[in-house]
Symmetry: C2
Subunit: 362 residues, 2 copies
């Protein structure tokens, strides 16, 4: 009898019987209840859905013993206070875009994305295998929290403009709703960055209080109807070549969990990330088709605008890095492999994507 | 007292105390042992490492009560009999590239990838949100198994050639180690597809028994040293614009698991997928740099070769679909959103990638 046929015979029916034949192990598992404060409203379905999946999976994996209640932005704490709330233990965990906390320390920006940064797959490569998770969490741990990578929107759009922007001069005086590092960069080129809560952007754009706004991409933008009041839809969103979302945990609370709950939380977050990006990639193509049919005019940022933005970005990075060692450390790690990744991308990925695009457009 | 400050005060120290305050729930959880047969050797670190992570996480999440032993290709069953082994219950689960089973039914190919198909993110979008998982597993369930998406290599290279291939005529009589649907397509253009076990390819290429071989991409190819015996390294690998790997489970065994073990298995597989692709994206850029430094000559397939391959591919699809309703059903689902996804990709993703490539190459 060969090894192969012995295995096949001895295994007849073995698969289904395994569970029944095994002894039951009685273990005491603590019931744990956590609260997750999200920075997001329920009205961004890919993001909100991913956080719902995360807490649902944690419950399922622990037989309902580790339950996390999920709260939309503003329900327990305001959207931009989620970091504080997790840090001080008001809630055990949060779901957020860490660049929201740029004002506390610009180093947080690398948790989401920075201008002229990495695309979604490059970000994951950096995070998991090129030192990103380690170097970023060294910084985050100093604030009592750990960030677990939990979502990505993919490349975002440059936003909605009431008029065409062709030259660098056209940026001067432009009232543009944009925040964080990108706002700082654009202010060097004469843009006047505006901070307006999401719910008020449409009205401000309609009245002309602002000239332009950026948001996410077709799937989310469509719901807010910006194309009805600002028809020029620009790309690329060079300040968000991808944008990561993280589950953040209070370190003391996380360490107090049984090891298997910690692993369940991490695995559930990874599964939610997988769904998060896939949902954007499934929905954006259909949404942009509808937006263009509804009157949106696609426009590419001109090369001079991109080049001026790139130059200003490098100046801003150099200035902040000169004053902020944590920023410099994460910045250097973040950009260390960018050039090599891009060179490979042209060969391996883009050559395929380019051929498919040329062929299917014919 | 505002709602905000009330919450902040009442929560002092709450995070760390949650676990201690909760009652312990005593539950009987069965000890389950499974075996996972991989189609892969340990020598492909990104793939093998992902399967190791998968079984490790399942153990951790269940407090060691659900243990899966992992076996490299050939250890329990030969690499290309993993599907049979899972189907007939010899093992409860496997880790494989489903297009290996093209010979049984070409419909299996869509589980991995097909020529001129989807890139890695587009595949995930199809699988999770555009009907892919459902339509593919309707087919897989007829064979007693379910496929859980667990890895992707990203875009693969077109392989190593001993001589340059410039025209469609240069393909005639070319002895090329390539299998599955791509082999069928290329045979229409005069290629003579060769089936040679992985361990024998280098020697065959060195002796000139074959003229060319495809494998994966820089990270895996480098270990096999093909650049020493066939210096022309072609791209894109149009038959593998991405390549998915799945964990496959015997349905009876999976249904016999406690619900929380099933969820743990799915979440661990998703986490392993996240690491799988990130590792390739981290390693390929460094490997291709070393390969080029070591003498590899990068060459793009010419447009006439790509166009002839595309045309032959469509003919092969039409022929198989005409005879095989399952193939037609999965094919139609797989390609239904391709054009829309590609149109969006040019705007959202490629416009960013292109600018970064142009800028960082200067």
């Amino acid at each position: 009898m060969t090894r192969r046929s012995f295995l096949a015979k001895s295994a007849v029916g073995a698969a289904a019987a395994t569970t029944l034949a095994a002894p039951a192990i009685v273990r005491a598992q603590p019931a744990v209840r956590w609260r997750m404060a999200s920075s997001f409203p329920k009205a961004v379905p890919a993001i909100w859905g991913a956080s719902e999946l995360l807490v649902q999976r944690v419950g399922e994996m622990t037989g309902g013993r580790f339950q996390i209640s999920l709260h939309a932005g503003g329900e327990l704490v305001p959207p931009f206070q989620v970091l504080d709330a997790v840090q001080n233990g008001t809630v055990e965990c949060g779901h957020t875009a860490l660049y929201y906390f740029f004002g506390k320390d610009p180093t947080w920006s690398f948790g989401t994305i920075v201008p002229f940064g990495l695309n979604a797959r490059q970000f994951a490569a950096w995070w998991y295998y090129l030192g990103g998770e380690k170097v970023f969490n060294e910084f985050a741990n100093q604030h009592g929290i750990t960030a677990i990578y939990g979502g990505n929107t993919g490349a975002q759009m440059g936003g909605w403009f009431r008029r065409e922007i062709n030259t660098v001069d056209d940026l001067k005086g432009l009232k543009f709703r944009i925040a964080g590092l990108a706002g700082t960069v654009l202010s060097r080129l004469g843009v006047v960055p505006q901070q307006i809560p999401g719910g008020e952007v449409y009205a401000a754009l309609e009245r002309g209080t602002i000239d332009a706004t950026e948001w996410v991409g077709p799937f989310d933008d469509e719901r807010l109807g910006f194309h009805k009041v600002a028809k020029f839809y620009y790309y690329p969103g060079w300040w968000e070549g991808s944008a990561a979302v993280h589950a953040i945990v209070n370190n003391k609370a996380f360490e107090a969990l049984p090891a298997e709950y910690r692993t369940a939380f991490r695995a559930a977050t990874a599964e939610s990330l997988q769904h998060f990006l896939a949902r954007y990639d499934a929905e954006n193509p259909q949404a942009i088709r509808r937006l263009v049919a509804g009157g949106a005019q696609l426009r590419a940022f001109s090369r001079p605008i991109l080049d001026a933005s790139y130059k200003a970005t490098q100046e801003v990075y150099a200035e902040i890095a000169g004053q902020n060692p944590a920023f410099k450390k994460v910045h250097d790690s973040f950009f260390a492999h960018q050039r090599d990744m891009i060179v490979w991308w042209r060969v391996g990925e883009s050559s395929f994507d380019d051929y498919m695009a040329q062929t299917l457009r014919r």
